[in-house]
Amino acid sequence: MIQKEKLLLIIQREYLTRLRSKIFIVTTILAPVVMILLLILPTLIQTMSADRQRQFLVYDETGEIGQELVGIDSVYYRITTNPPDELRASLITGDIEGYLLIPHEILDGKGKVSFYHGGTAGMTVTSRIRSDVQQIVRDIRLDRIDTPAEVRAILAERVQTENLTITAEGEEEADSGFYMFLGFIMGFIIYGAMFAYGAVIMRSVMEEKTSRIVEVIASSVRPFELLMGKVTGVALLGLTQFAIWAGAGAALMVVAGPIVTLFMGGDSGSVQSTEAAAEAAAFSIPYINPIIWVGFVLFFLLGFLIYSSLFAAVGSAVDQESDSQQLQMPIIMLIIIPLMFLFPVSDDPASTLSVVLSMVPFFAPILMPVRMAVLPIPLWQLGGTILLMILTFIILIWLSSRIYRTGILMYGKKASFRELWKWIREN
């Protein structure tokens, strides 16, 4: 029924014209940059804001604690003899950032230290001051009763808890939370890709319609072939983009490894560098089962096929992008819903809720890779989901091509859902 040469020609055009387009080159370069920025930005911002030098005055009645605080950080803490009334006044005028009142009975285990500030002390500052004061008070009080060193050691000791998973092969693995993180990232990438490539399909259909070329094309090929060619071409484009990213990522790893060892090896011998090297090794990416990559690509592809057939139908039913909002709504909802379940599913990937949600064809592209990253999925679930998704795609592309066929020849008015239904039922 489908004419193979024509389909190949269409796929080729859809693929090549986009591959050479500026937008493809730009997004291929920018998307990982943005992604990395999003990941490191919070830490970066925190380090940057921590660079701002802050200072708090210490009004100390004990005569001991203040000095110890200055001993920890002489810029952060400064001893003052100004009475609390004056400190209060200068805080109100904004001359000082904040001050601590340390009562003398604090060393007897009574009273409390008060920290006054203009509302600018965030969590980092508050917790730092709290822990500094607490440590000093504890040390002084332990000194006073001549606590033996062994007791202090016990007090300072932290109990280690190890987090291990046992794989199907019976091997123990340290669970660093990495796989959950991986699942999250995969879910987000697929989420973004559904939207981005869906929009590519929609615009492409709309462009052919508004530029009226579609009537010329439709006099040479069946609308279904054009639609399939378009969807396949853009899917290949998406795979190409992922391949480029994966390739660049792998190359980066290969290059990054020697560079890191080079730096570490620079002053080998010193205790510090071996420790740092050990730390770096602990941070290197754990082994990722190839099945996770395969699953990622597979669910991206199936999800793309499902959503692009929906986006294509919308594109064919409208003349301009602004008219598409209403028709796009249900599709956008379908993509967003799994995102809301991203946390509960990755938190407990084996729960009934997780299993059911991740098997719904519309949610699977995002939720199944999330689960796959964290734990091995039973074969029946994987197979069943893939089967369901293929089935959904076939039904949707059929419905969509019926809308498409009529939609591409309709100009001037935007169609309602009722009209779309009519187009589907038409001969």
Binding site: T17, S21, R212, I213, V216, I217, A218, V221
Partner: protein
């Protein structure tokens, strides 16, 4: 009858409750220019879309070169839709090659043909430019090349002259006549009646989805007889308002076309005219196609 290239047999197409094409039958022979005429919404475009296999008829059948229309006949069609369109971001050459290959040409043949036609239209220099960068007139030429470059046996032009300047119109007309002489079957849909008279061998007149007139243009015109008067004059034209049993078409300051209705006497009209104005021309002629068009549609 056997050398008919295209045949519509009792073709009907409905959209919702309206019959866009209602039980239409006609046939077209090769080497003819076939005019598809009719007011807006008469069913011309729907007929063309069924002929190009973009739409399928609800009932009836359409055949081309002896086989039902389908993917195979699509390859032998060149279609220039009324609403023009090309991929704006594709280069002229690439785009034309793509369209030709979709109609089954090899890349090599496509390149040769495209070169020939672009040179003929003085457009070869644009081959590496994006279509969106070209002027409207240039795009029209490219679209025309896209319609004929794969050497189709059946050509369908929907308002091909709209938007063309007189020089390009003349060139296009020349090419269309040349294609006809080369044995192509040409469908020509238009509202412009003077072009129909200049180009068409046969016509089909549509109204409200029905075919109300079909046949050889010359035969149709002669069947109406010499029932029209062409009058050129100088002077006050108000006397025309008082003439009985006629209908006035195409009236201007010193020219009028009069259609004689039942009971009208051409000699009496000549005498009336003489009494009021200076007559330069008074001619009894066959009705113009416009006259036939209006006459048939208003029936």
């Amino acid at each position: 009858m056997n050398d008919s290239i295209v045949e519509f047999r009792e073709v009907t197409k409905q959209f919702g409750g309206t019959r866009a094409v209602d039980n239409v039958s006609f046939s077209v022979r090769s080497g003819r220019i076939f005019g598809l005429l009719g007011p807006n919404g008469a069913g011309k475009t729907t007929s063309i879309r069924m002929l190009t296999y973009i739409l399928k008829p609800d009932s009836g059948s359409i055949s081309m070169f002896g086989q039902p229309v389908g993917p195979e006949t699509q390859k032998r069609i060149g279609y220039l839709p009324e609403e023009r369109g090309l991929y704006k971001k594709m280069k002229v050459g690439e785009q034309l090659v793509y369209l030709c290959r979709l109609r089954g040409l090899s890349r090599q043949t496509a390149r040769e043909r495209i070169r020939y036609w672009l040179e003929r239209f003085g457009a070869y220099d644009w081959i590496g430019q994006e279509v969106g960068e070209l002027s409207k007139g240039m795009q029209q030429k490219i679209q025309f090349v896209a319609t004929i470059a794969h050497d189709p046996d059946c050509l369908i032009f929907d308002e091909p002259f709209s938007g063309l300047d007189p020089i390009n119109s003349e060139m296009l007309k020349e090419v269309i006549l040349e294609l006809r002489d080369a044995g192509k079957t040409i469908f020509f849909a238009t509202h412009r009646m003077e072009q129909v008279e200049q180009l068409c061998d046969e016509i089909a007149l549509f109204n409200n989805g029905q075919l109300i007139l079909n046949g050889n243009l010359a035969e149709i015109r002669s069947s109406y007889g010499q029932n029209s008067i062409r009058l050129r004059f100088s002077g006050d034209s108000r006397f025309l308002n008082d003439l009985k049993n006629i209908r006035i078409n195409n009236r201007s300051t010193n020219y009028a076309e009069l259609r004689l209705l039942d009971g009208a006497d051409d000699q009496q009209i000549l005498r009336d005219a003489q009494n009021h104005v200076r007559i330069h021309t008074f001619e009894l002629v066959q009705p113009s196609i416009q006259e036939i068009f209006i006459d048939s549609v208003s029936k």
